[in-house]
Structures are given as C-alpha cells and as structure tokens.
Point group: C2
Chain length 294, copies 2
C-alpha cells in the first residue's frame, strides 16, 4: 500500500481524490501541515491511520497565518523529502496547493474565533488565528475528513480549531496528539533547523523549565505564580526575548493570575526567542492525568 | 411522498436525518429560511426539488443577523402553518432549532466576508452579514446539501453566501431564484404582514420605481444617476425613511457613482421604510438578459 501516494495541487483535484477515497471506505483521516515534516508530524499521521483507513496530508505554508515580520518567506519547504516521508508513512493523498489556489483573487472570507484568540499567542501574532481558522475550515471543507489530528505543541491552535469545528458544526472529530520531543526534551519543530548549535543548547532551558514546573505541581504546588516563576528562572537567562510565560485554564484559555491557584486542568504555555528563532512549548497540569515530564 | 415530513429540533437529529436522506440518494437540496413562509419560499423549495430528489428546509429566526433595534422579537413565527406548507410542497425534512441549539454557551466563531458587506445594507445593518454568513456555514455543515436555493430579493445576502461558499470551499452549489411578486408588483416578504393597507398601497412605489428604471434602461439610458433618480422620484414621496437607493456592479457590488455609466451587469437596489416596516427590493440590468419588469 505504501507507494500508492497521489499528489494534488488544485482544490478540485484534491476534492475529487478525497471523494474517491471516501467511496472506497467513507472514512478519511486528515493531517494538515506546513510541511518540513519531522517525527512529530509522522506521529500525527500514525494516529490518523489508527483512526481511519485512508489518510490525507496537506502541505501548505499558509500565508494568512504569518505576520509581516515573520518567517513566511524563509520557512523551510523540502517538498521532495516530505513526499517521501508521507509515502513511507502510508499516506494516500498529499495536497500541495499554491497560495493562489487557496486564496484566489476576489477571495474575501475569514473565520474568526473570539476570546480564545485574544490571549497567549494572540497579542504577539495579530491575525494569526484568523489565518489558521480560515485555512483549516477550507481544508476540512475540501477534504471532508471524519477525523483530523493536530499536535499539542501548538496548544492554542488546537483549542481554536476545536472551538471553530464545534461552532461551525463541521462533521470532523478533532484529535490532539502529544508533543513529540528529542531525547534531550526539546519539542520537535520545523523551526528548530534555524537554531545554531549554541542556540539549540540554550533552547533546552524550555523543556527543563517545564519539567521543573511539572515536578513542583506533582509536589503539591498549586499557585500559578510559583509555577510560572519556576519556568521563568530557567528560561530567562537562555532567551533573547520572552513573549510570554503564562498560566491559563487548559480548556477555555482564561489566564490564571499569579496570585491564584490553578484549577483541575491548567496550561502553562510559553513563547520565547532564542536568537532569531521563536520557540513555543507548553505543559498541561491535570489532577486526573499527571503530566509526563517534557 | 408529501406527508412524509420529519421535523428535527437538534443539530444532532438534523445531521442524522440528512445523512439518512443522503444514503437513500446522496443528493440533498436545502432551503434555509426564517419561516413565515410565503409563495416566494415555496418557489425556492420547488427549484430545490427540481435540482435534488430530497429537500430539507430550515426554519430559524437567526438572532445574530438582527440588530438591537430590529424586529427579532416580533418577527412572525407561524410554525404549524409553515410545517403544513412544507408538507404540501414535498419537503422531506424541516430543521427548527432554538437559538440555544445554534448558539450554545461558549460559542465563539463568526464568518466574515469583507468588502461585499460594506456597501448597500452593510452600513445600515452592522453585523448582519456576519450573522448570515455564520449561520449559513453552520447549516450547510450540518446538512451537507449539494445545492441550496436563495431568493434574489435579498440580493446582497445571495452575493455574500456565494462568496463565502466559494471561499470556504464548501461543496454546495448556491442557486439564486427570481423574486416572487404579488400581482401588483410588490415583492413577497414575511415582513409585508406588518404593513397597514394604506402602507401597502404606498409600498407599490417600490416596484413602480424599479419598473420605471427598467424601462429607461431598455430605452438606452445607461447613466447610473438617471436610473437612480427615476426610482427616487417615485419612492421618495411614499417612503417614511430611505436607507439607500443605489446602483452597483451586480457581481462584486462595487458602487457605480451617479456620473458613471452602468456596466454589463448592474444592480439597482434599495431599502426604505414605509411606516415602521423596512422593505428591500432590487433589479438587475443585464445587456444579455433584459430584466423583467418588477
């Protein structure tokens, strides 16, 4: 079966190929990506394959989710390698549209999720989540999957996509999959290729900080400020700039002030720059399911 | 077959019933309405039945498309009569959700179409088209029709829904159907019940004004200002208030200034109040297909 990979560049061809796969079995799994695939993406594909017999992947560096000063132009695009990885992973269909195919002249529609998008990444990436919600709506509509799998590293993105999918009544099950990490703890990211070896070493402050917060929480610490400061102490010396280190409700992303105790499910999320590279990571504290050390 | 009408009040039941109808034949037609059905709606149903073997109708007075000073509370809701009309018209399925079913607590997503929504109705009904685009996206997602039919009386709504459907890659053919009129020319509207008999007589200035513009256009008049003024002269004495009488491109709704000539396809649209009742109507001038006198 691996090897039978179809690549579509137009919406019409992608839609027809998805329809054909659905006729075969009616159940399509979908993994939207921006390419530059790593083991994290492949874990999403494997999860999708566990949940649906046929899996489609989109590879699209979506311009509307990048700000004017972000890395749209230099974002890595190793297409041939990505296709080979998809083939090996048993993906049936890859969609590789151009920006003009997804945003033709005259296109005027955006999907906006409020509140959830005003916190954490929101203030630092204005318009980002409108771009995400819009492109995911389009990709879901074109492919018609029963299930779509997203990584939990982009925790807020996952929350926004879940909200949007439920609100727009899209008939898609949105699944979040745990962050895949290198053995030293660094979360896999297509942007890690930007890091020099010195920067990569400094970036380890992120998983170490999160691990420290997890250990504190396990030890009974419930004050948001204490958990947050535990991370900050390790991350501050390593970061070129800190966008945020924040504690929030893990479901609706409402911020938890430093002076308050975290609830049953709390998120600790951060975004920092190491050199010119922006890194994000997070951990969820849960009373029911103790988090794994990053 | 008429008589076999299923009524669903929840999204889950509606989705399941639509899925069942699609299994029967795979092709579902859909007519979204706010109820208070008249012959205009029934013409949309008949057109949907010409295009798909099974037709579903939604009856939902959508709160998000009403402004705070509009007629949401007093909008007519003659449900039993509507269901009987649907039954007689051969509708298979009617969806009658509550506002809480369509907008549950925590719901946060809106669909916005830019530019097209800034003109004509836009300035007078802020947020209206976000409400329309959002609810239609939701209804399309829940029902999964191959075709949906909208009346051309709400011309801008039809344009917004077309744009949104194309932009979000929704697999639905959006069909516009000609405005149905009473013998005296007044466009059918659920809001006509608000009119006193005196107001109804004054309201005839609208179709008379549009008919006059059509006659002028047939006679060779191409200046937007002349066409617009021909309507205004008849409508001004009858109107309690005029929101707009405007000429625009019939496809992208770009306004055509009075001093310019109309293009190949031009829209003349208006919104006026007669008493407390807001009426809208329009006509499209086309070089290829001469418009019928309203």
């Amino acid at each position: 079966m691996s090897g039978a990979l179809e690549v579509c560049e137009t919406v019409a061809a992608f839609r027809a190929a998805c329809d054909a796969l659905r006729v075969e079995d009616r159940k399509l799994g979908f993994v939207p990506t921006m390419g530059a695939l790593h083991r994290g993406h492949l874990a999403l594909v494997a999860e999708a394959r566990r949940r649906a017999p046929n899996v489609a992947v989109s590879i699209f560096v979506n311009p509307t989710q990048f700000g004017p000063n972000e890395d749209f132009a230099r974002y890595p695009r190793p297409l041939e390698r990505d296709l080979e990885l998809c083939r090996e992973a048993g993906v049936r269909l890859v969609f590789t549209p151009s920006p003009a195919e997804m945003y033709p002249a005259g296109e005027r529609t955006r999907v906006h999720v409020s509140d959830l998008t005003d916190v954490l990444e929101g203030p630092f990436r204005p318009g980002h989540f409108d771009g995400v919600a819009s492109v995911v709506t389009k990709l879901f509509a074109a492919s018609g999957p029963v299930v779509a799998v997203f990584g939990r590293k982009d925790y807020q993105q996952l929350a926004v996509v879940r909200r949007m999918t439920a609100d727009l009544l899209l008939p898609v099950e949105v699944v979040g999959f745990p962050t895949v990490r290198d053995p030293d703890g660094l979360a896999l990211s297509s942007r890690n290729v930007y890091l020099s070896s010195d920067e990569r070493a400094r970036a380890l402050a992120v998983p170490r900080g999160l691990a420290r917060a997890v250990a504190l929480h396990r030890g009974g610490e419930r004050h948001a400020g204490a958990l947050r400061r535990a991370v900050l102490e390790l991350v501050e010396p390593a970061a070129t700039r800190i966008d945020y280190v924040a504690v929030a409700d893990a479901d609706d992303l409402t911020p938890v002030p430093d002076a308050e105790r975290v609830g049953e499910r709390a998120l600790l999320a951060l975004a920092i720059f190491v050199g010119k590279t922006r890194l994000i990571d997070n951990v969820v504290f849960s009373e029911d399911n103790p988090p794994v050390t990053p």
